[in-house]
């Protein structure tokens, strides 16, 4: 029990006998429970119960009418995840999420290093300008790319003007990756910056003094020391990219169906709720593992 939670008379009592100490502990426990009760009850009813329902549905069977039979649990829906169509989508989502993470890392690292070596004032200005797009509406940011890349969009006009012919990127995998990178770049920049800024840069100096090349210094000193930021940023980019729904819907086409869209389709059009539910569960499991790794590597402190 925390000290602030003890009233003076309780404190004296606690000093007197273990009996009173127990009573004081119980009182604090009651207060804590009472304070947390509204949110606790709300989250159990409107979060834990829905999660349980999804789990039950993932073990259920789809009937001939597109409905779901909840009796007779089985693993059919999970077995379906091994089928070629679903497996392709899983691998494609995984691949695009990894690609997005690597591009974000490659783009953000030099940027974050440059930012960390500026004067404090310039750093803050640079940070604010990274934060602005991060704070703006996610849907709008994706839509902006649709305008840029679309049929008769600025991108097509530019490729035509410089003689590359009428190139169109919209509804391709490239467009989806651009959108994903755009949406998650700040999530990579911020943890990287935070961890590089914290490094004692005299170590870099020492390395250079001892005749290490710039690349050697980066590989043996700077990069290992910035590892917490690299891991934290990669998880923050990888996880949402894996479950992305809005970006592929707006920028992708029929050939670029990803996990998120596939799950939604199972509920809205294909009406195979058990498969949709089991995929949502798999997605959540990946997310939980990533979160545990994130906290273990100290991402919380960044």
């Amino acid at each position: 029990m925390t000290r602030a939670a003890v009233r003076p008379e309780e404190q004296e009592a606690a000093a007197a006998t273990p009996e009173y100490e127990k009573a004081a502990n119980r009182a604090a426990s009651r207060r804590g429970l009472l304070l947390s009760l509204p949110a606790y009850a709300y989250l159990v009813l409107f979060f834990a119960v829905p999660l349980g329902i999804v789990m039950i549905y993932s073990f259920a069977t789809r009937n001939r009418f597109g409905g779901t039979d909840l009796s007779g649990w089985n693993l059919e829906a999970y077995r379906k995840l091994g089928e070629p169509i679903v497996r392709d989508i899983l691998f494609r989502s995984l691949w695009l999420a990894i690609l997005t993470t690597l591009i974000c890392l490659a783009v953000s690292y030099p940027f974050a290093y440059f930012m960390a070596t500026r004067t404090p004032l310039l750093r803050n200005v640079m940070l604010v300008f990274v934060m602005i797009p991060f704070w703006t509406n996610f849907l709008v940011r994706n839509y902006a790319w649709r305008v840029l890349l679309g049929n008769d969009g600025l991108f097509t006009n530019i490729t035509e003007a410089i003689g590359l012919g009428e190139r169109e990127l919209l509804f391709t995998t490239s467009a989806v990756v651009i959108g994903l990178v755009y949406g998650s770049l700040p999530f990579m920049v911020l943890p990287l910056y935070a961890s590089i800024e914290r490094i004692d840069l005299s170590l870099v100096e020492a390395s250079r003094d001892l005749y290490a090349s710039g690349f050697q210094t980066f590989r043996r000193i700077l990069f290992p020391l910035s590892m917490p930021g690299v891991i934290a940023g990669s998880i923050l980019v990888f996880v949402p990219s894996l479950g992305a729904y809005v970006t592929p819907e707006i920028l992708g086409g029929a050939k670029t169906t990803l996990l998120g869209s596939y799950i939604v389709t199972q509920f809205l059009t294909a009406r195979n709720w058990p498969v949709g539910a089991s995929l949502s569960f798999v997605l959540m499991a990946v997310m939980l593992v990533a979160t545990v790794v994130y906290f273990r590597t100290g991402g919380r402190n960044l």
Binding site: M1, A4, S29, L139, Y245, L259, A277
Partner: protein, 301 residues
Amino acid sequence: MSSTVQPRGTTKIALSVHSWLVYIFFFAPIFVLIVFSFSDDRNVGRWGGFTLEWYQGFFDHSQIQSAVWVSVRVALLSTVISVVLGTLAALALERFKFRGRQVFDALLYLPIIIPDVTMAVMMLLFFAEFFELLEAWFNLDWQKGFGSITISHIAFNISFVSVVVRARLAGMSEVLEEAALDLYATRWKTFRYVTFPQIMPGVAGGALLALTLSLDDVVVTQFAAGPGATTLPVFVFGLIRRGVTPLINATSVLMLAASVFLVALSLAFQQFSGRGGRPLLRGAREAVSTPNNQIKKEIYQ
């Protein structure tokens, strides 16, 4: 900082060019969107002269207008409720040990890390079952709409508010609360005059975050919305899937302006609440900078 740490020569030039490119990548799409929302051409990629007709269209579009009001009402209601619940939860977790604390802590983190799509599916199935039960047990014919959207937004907002408030509470010494209690302030008075003024910036920050998240959400809302009501982002998402129009450009720019306004508000709240401003803001600022005054007032009263 020494000279070997500072990038020099071509390295420096390359890094600085790279940074500019990153910023261009960040802002070019937004800039293009804003410019073309004023273009008098049905084709969004061609400049056809300046016009405000798309903004006029936004205000004349009855479906958009009703979606805007649903969005605003959902955002305000879900923010108020989640700020109260989230702040209480933060206090309980940071200041007390109680049975089931760890389970609660974990449950509170889940809505933040859960994928949007999974949460959306949860809401879809939950409301399907819930309304079926209502129908079967109480013969109530409820539809998804304003109520279900608000319920789902509160479910994720509680967690975000409590995280922000907890961060504030964790950085705050318990000495002041102890002092107030030692001086026979009641628990309520201690909260009202000592704890609350100090966590006020956290509460306000949490509220603005909740407001922004609620106004921005598409995926969860899409599954919780029904024929009864839909929010602006969900409506716009539906429009986008049918194609790009200048009307969507104008609507997007207005949504952009709304989020920028909210961020500016939260920054202003954190930075400048001490200089002038409303009494509430000033009070919060003073409580943070000179907490001893609050205690003194309590003692001498």
